[in-house]
């Protein structure tokens, strides 16, 4: 574990000590090498779930894909931010990279923590760099409002978790994830126990976000700079799913009845946010709402608590992480050229940037879950396990897939197809840097088709 963590921490001095000329190349290479080394975690030497121990950290099949995704995303964020920070003073660029790096440090610690309380601390710690990235490097003045929403929604949700965890510590005497599932089942009968149950999940449901408490997400996504949107969509939302999966097995006797309203709410959210997407004309807001819709499916997959539900949720989290991050990158390439997020102002781009149109197409297809991409595997597994619980859920999930297809293609058609508008004729050509970002996003997605077991968590 430390062989990844220490190089990541050392990336911060690297950022501050390298000369200006080498700042971006060296940080990029450094982070890419770290990302490649994390692939080593995919080998599980033992039959037991946990491996790569040290005193506080370990990896298991659930956390490994998320850890690798985290590390994979840092070089991509560095690549993506290169253009819009060129006019910043050097120290501010360095600060920016340092913040991104510190985010990776916190995320590695969060995903690999074996103590719940350490997970909690790191979960909260990720808020700080994200908040700074959004409020300092965002583009409009609304970024301050977005930062407030982001911080207070998440904090308000997660403070009950702290209390709930302390109570758990009091009852069981340990918060170690390694042993928690073997501790004797809690006797949960009173109303206060139900509140404890809700306290345990609320933080993660807000983070996911569950429909109803999702308002912070579109705001944060729209206002954040590209790296912020990428990490937010790709990894930070997944912290919620990861936490829920970890806590699910200790909440056992209550979850059966108490989770129903949340599942229905999440499924309903899939439809409602999908419908909002159909009417969006703000590119980043559309992608953000589509994230809410996909994460709603993940939430139900976790709450249903079947092996297929869990597996599907994990697969969909990883696939959606790569896809939505790719879509945000594409939105950013448009933004850097048209200086607007409005979709009607950037139409017919296939004429001007044909290779970009290919990326748009692939990313839209991934978003609408075309087989055999992992997105489909995840959705199909979740839909199947929900269908087994109640056949009527298929009405909601089926409508959800229909609406997803409709808005994904609407996104593609509006931005890429049709005649090119006149004000775009003098557009800057696409750079190989941008194509590289897209390749690095979509290649893992396509390679995962060949070996989906890597994402399957505990059952494989």
């Amino acid at each position: 574990m430390l062989k990844i963590l220490i190089p990541t921490i050392m990336l911060i001095p690297t950022t501050w000590l390298t000369p200006k000329k080498w700042l971006w190349p060296s940080t990029l290479t450094h982070s890419l090498i770290i990302a490649l080394f994390t692939l080593n975690w995919l080998t599980w030497p033992s039959e037991t779930a946990w491996s790569n121990f040290n005193g506080f950290m370990a990896t298991d099949p659930l956390s490994t894909p998320l850890l690798i995704l985290t590390c994979w995303l840092l070089p991509l964020m560095i690549l993506a931010s290169q253009n819009h920070t060129t006019n910043d003073p050097l120290n501010r660029q360095r600060m920016y990279i340092s913040l991104l790096t510190s985010l990776q440090v916190f995320l590695i610690l969060a995903f690999s923590a074996t103590e719940l309380i350490m997970f909690y601390v790191m979960f909260e710690a990720t808020l700080i760099p994200t908040l700074l990235i959004i409020t300092r490097w965002g583009n409009q003045t609304e970024r301050l409002n977005a930062g407030t929403y982001f911080l207070f929604y998440t904090l308000a949700g997660s403070l009950p978790l702290l209390v709930a965890l302390l109570m758990l510590q009091n009852k069981t005497g340990s918060l170690s994830m390694l042993t928690l599932q073997f501790s004797c089942p809690l006797n949960l009968t009173y109303l206060s126990d139900k509140m404890w149950w809700a306290g345990c999940l609320l933080a993660f449901l807000v983070k996911m976000p569950l429909y109803g408490v999702h308002l912070w997400l579109p705001k944060a996504h729209v206002e954040a700079p590209i790296a912020g949107s990428m990490i937010l969509a790709a990894v930070l939302l997944k912290l919620g799913g990861y936490g829920m999966m970890r806590l699910m097995n200790i909440l056992e006797p209550l979850s059966k009845q108490l989770s129903y309203p949340f599942m229905i709410l999440a499924l309903w959210g899939v439809i409602m946010t999908g419908l909002i997407c159909l009417r969006q004309n703000d590119l980043k807001s559309l992608i953000a709402y589509s994230s809410v819709s996909h994460m709603g499916l993940v939430t139900t997959g976790i709450l249903i608590q079947t092996p297929w539900g869990f597996t599907g949720a994990l697969v969909l989290m990883i696939a959606h992480g790569l896809t939505s991050s790719a879509l945000f990158c594409l939105a950013n390439t448009n933004y850097e050229r048209t200086h607007s997020r409005t979709m009607v102002l950037a139409r017919g781009l296939q004429m001007a940037l044909p290779l970009m149109a290919t990326w748009w197409f692939t990313a839209s297809l991934a978003n609408m879950a075309l087989p055999p991409l992992p997105n489909l595997m995840g959705e199909l597994m979740i839909i199947s396990s929900l269908f087994n619980w109640s056949p009527w859920t298929l009405v909601l999930t089926g409508l959800g897939t229909l609406i997803t297809a409709a808005y994904s293609l609407y996104l593609f058609l509006t931005t890429q197809r049709g005649p090119l508008t006149n004000h775009l004729l003098h557009m800057e050509p696409s750079h190989s840097r941008e194509h590289l970002i897209m390749t690095l996003h979509l290649t893992p997605l396509i390679l995962l088709i060949l070996k989906p077991e890597l994402l399957w968590g505990w059952i494989f």
Partner: protein, 611 residues
């Protein structure tokens, strides 16, 4: 492995290698020369066709069916998904047919699309479309089938929207995907049910395990899937809209790929359906309704491609009827024969459209049989085959379907609708021939009429041969799995022919009246019903769309997200806290004298009280 099954599987491997080779050849940084389309793509499809004859011959000679499972793709504890191919009657016969038809279409496209600067990309899309279809046909596994299923869907999106500068083409493309996606909900339902109850997506295991289960729900999903893909009534409007694509696309889409995929899925799954009367009746009635409704729509269209498109839809309805009659093999036979003459009809109309300066309206054609004799005679041949003229390709399948329908006890209503639709087939086929080929020219002078190009003549000629003999060849080499009906009364035997002839005579009689005005006020309503496609698109494409978009904007976005959730969440927190904050801060205004006075007063008061 047995040597013949080894030959079958390796020839399939060679076919796929041949088809993928052109795609690999484009993976260089250099753009391909414009001859790439015919040297690489067309030749690879041609070679694949030649190779696909080998398993066909083996199959005919030895009746060999085989399944190969190559690679365990993924498995979750007890559920595994393999890469598995199935060579049975259906895939072994369908693969050569699809390749043959595609070969002709590709050759034609090299002439039709020659002025397109990115013709190579067009060929690449067509090839990927074909590959997706072959994946669907040969798969022995629901997941693999789903890949082909969605593959043809998304390739049709690209191909229908080929001229993406036009809004119509984009609308047609997204329409196709959305209608197909509705069908996909059904397929997902089917797959979810199968996965959860039978624990396998392998077809053989599915059929074996499903024997004593009530399959009505998943099979309804399956019928929904086929309804979307094969444009049955309810989900049919995308098919005529898909005419926005280039003509070779329409030809490929309507003959051997995409639209027959839905029927093919039902044929594949027929072992699950045959003991379920509910599903069979659903298929029967749905098919009968589709075949009549789309035949009515075809009657008054003026766009030549639209007429052919609606005739496809009508034939698909007939195939669905056959599924409902529990005769999957006959439906399959109709798919195969239909592929030849439908592709030919489209190629002929493409050739005519090109010759007449991109004119698609049949009222502005006429007299073509003198100017383009070969295309015109092929168009007539195709129309005759479509109407089921004895001993042409369509006869062998269509007649057999109507016969088995006449002798079944299932549903007289469906029979009636189908017979009416059959007579309408003759009417609209005659209408094409009458307007396009017969009579006097009504087009502009100086049309660049020229059919003397090898890339036009040869593909149409090949398909014309197919339309003449394919029915005979396939029927005489296919062993029926169900007992064919051997004896029946004369009127039942002749029913199909009789209704066709009646339709023909009526149409001729009515065509005689085209130059006269019998009524002062023509009857508008039936004509509008047919011409406006039964008012279906004008209702369905507006009302639900408007409602859902308004729901999205007014309810989901404005009422809930921007108003209620804001109000009861963040805004409520701030409005609730603000009075407290203002009260507290109002009290602290730095009035030191007052504070001290208060302090002294309370201090003295307590002192007094305590002492």
């Amino acid at each position: 492995m047995h040597s013949t099954s080894l030959m079958m599987s390796s020839s399939l491997l060679i076919i796929f290698t041949f088809l993928i080779m052109p795609l690999i050849s484009t993976m260089t940084t250099k753009p391909q020369p414009s001859s790439w389309s015919s040297t690489w793509v067309k030749n690879s499809v041609k070679m694949s066709f030649m190779i696909s004859l080998l398993p066909l011959i083996l199959f005919i000679n030895e009746g060999l069916e085989t399944i190969i499972t190559t690679w365990s793709w993924m498995n979750t504890s007890t559920f595994d998904i393999n890469i598995s191919f199935k060579f049975d009657l259906y895939s072994v016969i369908f693969t050569p047919v699809a390749l043959y038809v595609t070969w002709s279409i590709l050759e034609f496209a090299s002439w039709y699309m020659h002025s397109d600067p990115i013709m190579n990309r067009f060929f690449k899309y067509l090839l990927m479309f074909l590959i997706a279809m072959l994946i669907l046909v040969t798969s022995n596994n629901m997941f693999q089938l789903f890949i082909g299923w969605e593959g043809v869907g998304i390739m049709s999106f690209l191909l229908i929207g080929w001229w993406y500068g036009r809004a119509d083409a984009n609308v047609a493309a997204i329409q196709a995907v959305v209608y197909n996606r509705i069908g996909d909900i059904g397929l997902i339902l089917f797959m979810a049910w199968i996965a959860m109850n039978l624990n396998s997506w392998e077809m053989g295991q599915m059929f074996m395990l499903a024997e004593d289960k009530n399959l009505t729900l998943p099979l309804l999903g399956l019928v929904l899937a086929a309804t979307g893909k094969s444009a049955q009534f309810g989900l049919h409007p995308w098919l005529p809209s898909a005419m926005e694509g280039p003509t070779p696309v329409s030809a490929l889409l309507h003959s051997s790929t995409m639209v027959v995929a839905g029927i093919f899925l039902l044929i594949r799954m027929s072992p699950l359906m045959e003991n379920n009367p509910v599903i069979l009746t659903t298929c029967l009635c749905l098919g009968a309704l589709t075949t009549l409704f789309t035949a009515i729509c075809a009657l008054t269209q003026n766009d030549i491609k639209k007429i052919v498109a609606f005739s496809t839809s009508s034939q698909l309805g007939l195939m669905m009827v056959t599924i409902g009659l529990n005769q999957p093999q006959l439906a399959f036979l109709h798919i195969c024969t239909h592929a030849f003459f439908k592709a030919m009809l489209f190629l002929c109309s493409g050739s005519l459209i090109h010759s007449l300066n991109d004119e698609q309206d049949i009222r502005k054609m006429g007299g073509m049989h003198l100017l383009t004799p070969f295309t015109s005679s092929s168009l007539t041949l195709g129309s005759l085959a479509l109407t089921g003229t004895p001993f042409l390709a369509g006869f062998f399948s269509k007649d057999a379907i109507i016969e088995s329908m006449n002798t079944s006890y299932l549903n007289a209503w469906a029979l009636l609708l189908t017979l009416i639709a059959t007579s309408f087939t003759a009417v609209y086929s005659l209408r094409i021939v009458y307007y396009v080929i017969m009579g006097h020219p009504r087009f502009n002078s100086l049309s660049p009429i020229n059919e003397n190009n090898k890339s036009v003549i040869n593909p149409i000629k090949r398909l014309a041969w197919g339309s003449i003999i394919a029915g005979l060849i396939i029927t005489s080499n296919m062993t029926p799995m169900k007992n064919p009906i051997m004896t029946m009364p004369l009127y039942a035997k002749m029913a199909a022919l009789i209704v066709t002839v009646i339709g023909l005579i009526t149409a001729l009689e009515m065509a005689r009246n085209t130059s006269k005005q019998l009524n002062i006020i023509p009857k508008q309503i039936p004509h509008s019903f047919s011409n406006m496609l039964g008012f279906y698109p004008s209702i369905i494409h507006r009302l639900p769309m408007k409602l859902s978009l308004q729901l999205g904007q007014n309810i989901a976005s404005q009422t809930i997200d921007m108003t209620w959730l804001e109000k009861i969440g963040p805004k409520a927190t701030s409005t609730l806290n603000l009075p407290l904050i203002t009260t507290t801060s109002n009290a602290q205004k730095g009035m030191v004298k007052t504070y001290l006075m208060l302090f002294i007063l309370t201090f003295t008061l307590t002192m007094v009280l305590l002492i």
